[in-house]
C-alpha cells in the first residue's frame, strides 16, 4: 500500500473527498446527505491519507487526539439544541430564515439545524478516525496474527509505521 502511484493519487483524492464531504453535509437539510454521511466521507479521506502516508503523517494533519473532535462536535450539537431552550422554545427547535442574504445578490435558505449537522460531522470524524487509528495501531504493533485479529480495516492499513 505504499506504492508511489497510490501516494500520488491519495494526494489528489483526499482534498476532493473532503470538499465532497462538506458538500454532502451542507446539502443534507433538504436533500439526501447530512452530517453523518459527510462525516463518514471525510473520515474515508483521512483514512486514505493514513493508508498512503502512514500514521505520522495523519498525526501531522490532525495534531490532537480525535476525542477533541468528538467533544467539540458534541458541544456544538448541544449548544444548537439548547439555544432554543434558553429562548423559551422546546429543545432542538430549528430557527429557519428563508431568504438569508449572504452578499453578492445571493440568498440562502438558512436553518440553524445546520450547526447540529456540523456537530454530528465532527463527532463522526472523531469517532471513526479515532477508532481506526486505535484498531490499526494494534495491528501495527502486534503484526497480523493468523488466528486473531479481525482483518477488516486493519490489515490494509498497515502501511509503514516508520
Amino acid at each position: 500500500m505504499t506504492s508511489t502511484l497510490f501516494k500520488t493519487a491519495a494526494r489528489l483524492i483526499v482534498p476532493l473527498t473532503l470538499i465532497f464531504a462538506a458538500y454532502i453535509a451542507m446539502r443534507g437539510h433538504n436533500s439526501p446527505g447530512g452530517g453523518f454521511i459527510g462525516g463518514l466521507m471525510a473520515s474515508v479521506g483521512l483514512i486514505l491519507y493514513r493508508m498512503a502516508h502512514g500514521r505520522a503523517a495523519l498525526l501531522r494533519l490532525l495534531p490532537f487526539h480525535p476525542r477533541v473532535l468528538v467533544a467539540l462536535g458534541l458541544a456544538i450539537a448541544y449548544v444548537t439544541a439548547l439555544v432554543p431552550l434558553a429562548l423559551g422554545q422546546p429543545l432542538l427547535t430549528s430557527l429557519v430564515i428563508d431568504g438569508l442574504y449572504i452578499g453578492l445578490g445571493q440568498t440562502i435558505h438558512f436553518a440553524s439545524a445546520v450547526f447540529f449537522d456540523i456537530g454530528v460531522l465532527l463527532v463522526v470524524v472523531g469517532v471513526t478516525v479515532g477508532m481506526i487509528q486505535r484498531l490499526s495501531e494494534e495491528v501495527d504493533s502486534q503484526h497480523i496474527k493468523e488466528s486473531g485479529c479481525p482483518t477488516t480495516a486493519a490489515s490494509s492499513t498497515g502501511g509503514n509505521p516508520r
Binding site: 453523518f36 469517532v127 471513526t128 488466528s147 486473531g148 485479529c149 479481525p150
Partner: protein, 147 residues
C-alpha cells in the same frame, strides 16, 4: 418489490443466524452486523401506509401513501412521495449499528490480546473470579481497595 425485500430480509437474517450459532466470535460479530442490516431492510419493507386497509381507499392508494400524508393525497405532486419516516429510522439504526460495530471489533481485538483466543469454548473456560473454585487461582481483586 415487497417479495424481493422479503427475500433479502430472509437471506440476511438466515445467514446471520447461521453465523451467530457458530463458535468463532469473529463470525458471531459478522452475524450481528448482518442481523442489523436485515432489521433495517425489514423497516424499509414496512414503509408506506399501514397495512390496515382504509375502507374507502383503493388498494393502490393504501399501499402507496405515506401515513404522514393521510388517506388522501392532497396534491398530485405528492402522489409518489416516499414515506420519509422509515428512512429516518433506518439511518438512525445504521448510525447506531456503526457505533456498535466499532465497539465490537475493538472488543474482539482486546479479547484476543488478553486471552489469546476468540473461540467461544475456550473463552468460556476462562476462570470467573467470583466463583468459588477460582478465587484461589486468580485472587479476587477487591475493587474496594483504596489505591
Amino acid at each position: 418489490m415487497t417479495f424481493v425485500m422479503a427475500l433479502c430480509v430472509t437471506a440476511c437474517v438466515g445467514v446471520s443466524i447461521y453465523l451467530l450459532l457458530g463458535r468463532d466470535l469473529k463470525g458471531v460479530a459478522m452475524g450481528v452486523f448482518l442481523l442489523g442490516h436485515g432489521a433495517n431492510l425489514s423497516i424499509m419493507a414496512m414503509s408506506g401506509s399501514p397495512v390496515l386497509p382504509a375502507e374507502n381507499a383503493t388498494a393502490a392508494e393504501s399501499l402507496k401513501a405515506a401515513p404522514i400524508l393521510g388517506a388522501h393525497v392532497p396534491s398530485p405532486a405528492l402522489a409518489n412521495m416516499v414515506d420519509p419516516l422509515p428512512q429516518a429510522l433506518i439511518l438512525t439504526a445504521i448510525v447506531i449499528g456503526f457505533a456498535v460495530m466499532g465497539f465490537l471489533l475493538t472488543l474482539l481485538i482486546i479479547t484476543n490480546r488478553s486471552t489469546g483466543t476468540l473461540v467461544v469454548d475456550r473463552l468460556a473456560n476462562e476462570p470467573v473470579s467470583t466463583t468459588r473454585t477460582d478465587t484461589r487461582a486468580e485472587p479476587f481483586l477487591p475493587s474496594g481497595t483504596p489505591s
